[in-house]
Amino acid sequence: MDPNFRGDDDHHDGTSDATPGGYPQQRRPGEVFFTCFLLVASAVLLNEAFGISGFDKLSAPGTVPVVTAAIMVVCMAIIFFQTIRLPKVTGESIARDILPWRVLAFVGFLVGYALAVRPLGFLPTTALFLVFGIRLLGRGWVFSVGVGLGALVCIWIVFRIIFTVLMPPGIVPEAELVQIIRNLFSGVR
């Protein structure tokens, strides 16, 4: 097996733990920044871990957190020094290979969804997400609206009616809707 084989010829994006993404001997765009971020986050965790119970007893509640955070800091320090010494991958850019506009747009959609789902409710927020999401991925408006709303109805029936998952109702009178559907079916019987 070629050690550089990553299961994906285009983006080296880590489809599997057996063949993680990245390049063993080269540094991808943004890798140093990500490594720095993890190093700082690990240091903050280590500082927090020391505040748990100190290190007075080996069986103290803070022992495993301190050791774990210390391992994280040491690993990230090693990875950092290894990464900065590696040559840059040629022909890759952040905008094309790491954070293309579609990924950024979807992360924005997801954050927007998480913020809007409570006040607006599951049905309208999901409808907007699906329709605009499918449209953003290159489909026409008719297809996006048709498939988006069709998928929403399927999801709602499966999860709200069958699995009885209670999502935030928001501005939609969901409980009444469910009752109407139940009445319809009980009427049929």
């Binding site: 097996m1 050690p3 299961g7 285009d10 983006h11 080296h12 994006d13 880590g14 489809t15 599997s16 733990d17 057996a18 063949t19 993680p20 993404g21 990245g22 390049y23 063993p24 890798e31 990500f34 490594t35 993890l38 965790l45 927090e48 748990i52 119970s53 007893k57 080996l58 069986s59 509640p61 495993v64 957190p65 774990t68 955070a69 391992i71 690993c75 990875i79 290979d97 790491i98 997801l110 969804y113 998480a114 789902v117 409570r118 997400f129 699906l130 999401g133 499918i134 991925l137 290159g138 489909r139 988006g148 998928a151 999801i155 999860f159 699995f163 998952v165 209670l166 999502m167 935030p168």
Partner: protein
């Protein structure tokens, strides 16, 4: 007799049999559709089935697991896109076979070999688990601690990636698992004085984020990629072909079940190791490896399905997951009030035999569904990513929300999804993170028990380790993994095992 009755529970209850069949069928498609993985499906599913009884929930998950590990092979063969991580090695020779017009034969052989591998894995599970479980009763807390560490380290060490990144990922998982109030002393840990962190971070939110959201975001890179479809001829392979490759499939099934049974390592690593093995032992393949060698298809397919049975061995006997999917299944058992480990095998042996039965029937369904329905398959599998990706993201959100009806879990899931996305890009394995989260409590509890038993004294602790053969072997294995990745070891290995250069 009780074991037999639990084994056939699936057969006795049509609802359970239907769920196993449905799970296997769905698993084949989930495994086959690029962008949907078994780990993702099971982690999303756990949040919807937690209100079910344990048997139906397990029947569905077992079916999806068995079908999903196999399903990836079909797209690997037909489209050169491994539908699941365990099918990466399958694409290397499966797709060249399809290009030669042998797609039907490749699918048929991969199905039969997957089923053979699956049965080997199940047989090993049925025989080995009760023995391991009896042995595990003698395990000391320190042994569990060492096993947890070993599981987290093995993923990093057996994959082609960096061990340091694997260790970091495992430590990150343990830290995430430690967030919240300490269950023994109620001391807040990693809570940053925020009350919302007192209850800890939902492991389901972490799993769905890492395996669902990050995978969906990665798939956004491939929205415009067009797959070239191949024609499919006769699928059912001839007995001659099966018999010819039976010895290799048995060898690689053994590799698969062993790798699967090692804590933390699953079908994807097993398939790659089996492929390497096939390359070494096959002296004169009809076609070279990488150009459509049948052996390159047989080896990974037998191994990855054998790894399924193997992965259940440490899960059922020790409570330590064999791979990421069994890590999630441990979570499912926790939710249903069960605690996997040697005591579960003693208190609830019917649970173990039920799982063995469900796996067996899932394997039979795999043979049926694997050799039929190819026309429906080629239509469904080409579901446009433009529809699939937004759907996966919505299912992930609903799944994360459903467990606690808390929007905070959705925020955690999104955060871990973005973190997982970058980790994948930069070569950090995600399996150890999930393993760390699941094993965090087990590791912490057993460390504290072990060191309290040793009266907080390192000397006594190591006396205990060296006076027990098992503890010594486990510690030696951990040290070996570290040493084998150091420059002096690599230098010594190169000197000792170097082949002499032929004289010019």
């Amino acid at each position: 007799m009780e074991a037999l009755s639990a084994f056939v529970t699936v057969l006795a209850q049509p609802q359970l049999l239907a769920l196993v069949a449905l799970g296997t069928f769905a698993g084949i498609y989930i495994g086959a559709i690029p962008g949907l993985s078994v780990t993702m499906a099971v982690s999303i599913l756990i949040s919807f089935t937690f209100s079910w009884s344990v048997y139906p929930a397990l029947a569905l998950m077992v079916g999806i697991y068995m079908g999903g590990v196999y399903g990836g092979a079909r797209t690997a063969i037909l489209l050169n896109i491994p539908g699941a991580p365990s099918a990466i090695a399958t694409a290397l020779d499966g797709y060249p076979m399809a290009k030669r017009g042998e797609a039907g034969q490749a699918i048929g052989v991969s199905t039969v070999m997957s089923v053979i591998g699956g049965f080997v894995g199940i047989a090993v599970l049925a025989v080995a688990a009760p023995l391991v479980s009896d042995f595990a009763l003698r395990f000391q807390p320190r042994d569990y601690m060492f096993l947890a560490v070993l599981g987290i380290l093995l993923v990093g060490s057996l994959s082609t990636g960096s061990l340091v990144k694997g260790i970091f990922a495992g430590a990150l998982g343990i830290a995430i698992g430690a967030v919240g109030r300490d269950p023994l002393t109620f001391t807040p840990r990693f809570t940053f004085d925020l009350s919302l962190l007192n209850g800890g971070i939902s492991f389901i939110a972490v799993m769905i984020g890492m395996f669902g959201v990050s995978e969906a975001l990665l798939q956004l890179h491939h929205v415009d990629k067009k797959a070239i479809r191949q024609k499919v001829g006769r699928i059912i392979p001839s007995w001659k072909v099966v018999r010819k490759h039976l010895p290799l499939s048995m060898q690689t099934s053994t590799i698969g079940v062993t790798i699967g049974a090692l804590p933390g390592t699953g079908g994807d690593i097993a398939a790659l190791m089996a492929y390497d093995h096939a390359k070494r032992v096959t002296k004169n393949p009809e076609r070279p490896f990488g150009d459509g060698a049948m052996e390159g298809l047989v080896a990974p397919e037998a191994a990855n399905n054998a790894a399924v049975g193997g992965a259940f061995v440490p899960m059922m006997t020790l409570g330590i997951p064999g791979d990421a999917v069994t890590a999630i299944m441990i979570g499912a058992l926790f939710i249903h009030g069960l605690n996997p480990g040697p005591m579960l095998m003693i208190d609830r042996p019917e649970m173990f035999w039920f799982i063995v039965g469900a796996l067996t029937f899932a394997n039979i369904f795999l043979l049926i569904f694997g050799l039929t329905g190819i026309r429906l398959f080629t239509k469904l599998v080409e579901m446009p990513r433009a529809v699939l990706i937004p759907l996966i993201l919505i299912l992930s959100i609903v799944g994360a929300y459903a467990v606690n009806n808390a929007i905070t879990d959705v925020y955690w899931m999104l955060g871990f999804g973005v973190l997982g996305y970058f980790m994948r890009h930069y070569g950090y394995p995600l399996g150890p993170v999930i393993l760390g989260v699941i094993l965090s409590r087990l590791l912490d509890d057993n460390w504290r028990r072990a060191i309290i038993t040793a009266r907080e004294d390192w000397g006594r602790f190591f006396d205990g380790v060296f006076s027990s053969a098992l503890s010594s072997v486990l510690l030696a294995a951990i040290i070996f993994i570290f040493l084998s990745h150091t420059p002096p070891w690599k230098w010594a290995k190169a000197r000792l095992f170097a082949r002499p250069k032929p004289k010019e």
